[in-house]
């Protein structure tokens, strides 16, 4: 049931992704009202949750998902909301409605990274300077969490050594870019 959406994220099917986004948007905003965050912030939360959903899809973490994408999405949203409330020191117990499925959606833990160190900012700047091929390669390995073997078959490479050497070259280029910054 969730497969088409997972595929949509992987294949970057804009149309389906947009559909999913809009299908759940108003429902989430309405659902989030109870937490007494301003509407603008709720929208921001929804977007962050949606970004996270895509990430999980790309990382293959949704392949065995039993619940619906919506429930999962709301679970992430709740997690983000609680995190924000905690930061604002506003966590308070809420009235619990046992019949509300979405309210009962289990919160989905999600790594909210945010702040980059100075070194990481430098890395980021130079990563953007890499060619598309390298960015794709490194994104597949580091972001999507694909193994070398998976990249080999997905990318249609001859063998895994080809992938390894390419990845190695990309990392080397990245390092060179960073050091050239100091000159």
């Amino acid at each position: 049931m969730n497969q088409p959406y997972i595929r949509a994220f992987i294949e970057e099917d804009e149309h389906l992704i947009q559909k999913l986004y809009y299908e759940n948007r108003d429902l989430f905003l309405n659902f989030g009202k109870r937490y007494q965050l301003p509407q603008a912030e709720l929208l921001d939360v929804y977007q962050d949750a949606f970004v996270a959903l895509r990430e999980k899809a790309l990382q293959g973490k949704l392949d065995n998902l039993k619940s619906s994408i919506r429930t999962y999405l709301f679970g992430i949203g709740k997690y983000i909301i609680y995190d924000r409330l905690k930061q604002k020191d506003l966590s308070r117990p809420l009235k619990h409605d046992p019949k509300n499925d979405l309210e009962n959606a289990a919160t989905v833990e999600f790594e909210i990274n945010n702040t980059l160190s100075e070194e990481e900012k430098l890395l980021q700047k130079n990563f953007k300077k890499l060619g598309e091929k390298c960015r794709n390669m490194l994104t597949m390995f580091y972001y999507r969490g694909l193994t070398i073997d998976e990249i080999t078959s997905l990318g249609g490479y001859n063998n895994s050594n080809v992938v390894r050497s390419q990845k190695s070259r990309c990392l080397k280029t990245l390092k060179e870019l960073i050091s050239s910054n100091y000159e």
Partner: protein
């Protein structure tokens, strides 16, 4: 396995639990190894942030291009004026000489949902909720269908009552009458209320004999709708 391969397998998630333990120990005690590991973790963090920021940007753009209906004030006023005209004409008509139809219109309002609480925005798959949502949002044709299905599947008497209301709201008087009659065959939670609605249904039909008899009974027993019943009987004299 050299350091490179080790870290590669770590990022892939391909280390066995033993290997992972050794890995963490080495990371803790070997500063240069630790530095390498952290470098790769930083790369992962950076690419993650990059990707997230890019996609979020896409979403923001999506919101921005969402068509915002520009209300031209002229259109708005035209709509408001038309509505006002329609509503006032209705009330003027209602004030005119009483006819069964007018009396019905004046007194009929679909009975409120006291069975299934409906939470706005909540999406539920079950038939009962769907029926009441349709009912509450004024989609009476749909509601009638769903209540009918509900009665077929679950034999709940209230489904008859609410379907009757929905049918009355969409001008299907005969159907409403038959449903209410069926509902009233046994003593029910909403018996008195249903008696009132049955009287109203007959009023709409124009069956004056039934109307007068039923309204009189309601007045005599002082049950639901008895004060309105008095007014109606007066008007019909």
């Amino acid at each position: 396995m050299n350091e490179q391969e080790l870290i590669e397998r770590y990022i892939e998630g391909n280390l066995s639990s033993n290997e992972l333990q050794d890995f963490e120990t080495r990371r803790e005690h070997d500063p240069s190894f630790r530095k390498s590991v952290e470098y790769h973790l930083s790369i992962r963090k950076v690419i993650t942030e990059e990707n997230r920021a890019e996609f979020k940007d896409t979403l923001r753009k999506l919101e921005a291009t969402k068509s915002t209906a520009k209300h031209s004030s002229r259109t708005w006023w035209a709509v408001a004026a038309t509505l006002l005209l329609a509503v006032s004409s209705y009330f003027i008509w209602l004030q005119g000489t009483p006819s069964p139809e007018k009396l019905f219109a004046k007194n009929f309002e679909p009975y409120r949902n006291i069975v299934q609480p409906v939470v706005r925005g909540e999406v539920s798959e079950d038939l009962k909720t769907k029926a009441f949502v349709a009912y509450e949002t004024g989609d009476f044709s749909k509601a009638a269908l769903l209540f009918s299905e509900l009665f077929e599947e679950e034999n709940e008497p209230y489904a008859l009552f609410y379907e009757a209301n929905a049918q009355l709201a969409t001008d299907n008087n005969a159907k409403a009458i038959s449903l209410l009659t069926q509902y009233l065959e046994s003593p029910r939670k909403l018996t008195n209320i249903a008696q009132w609605y049955l009287a109203l249904a007959y009023l709409k039909e124009g069956n004056m004999i039934e109307v007068k008899e039923r309204l009189q009974k309601i007045i005599d027993t002082k049950t639901h709708g008895h004060s309105e019943a008095t007014e109606i009987l007066e008007a019909l004299k």
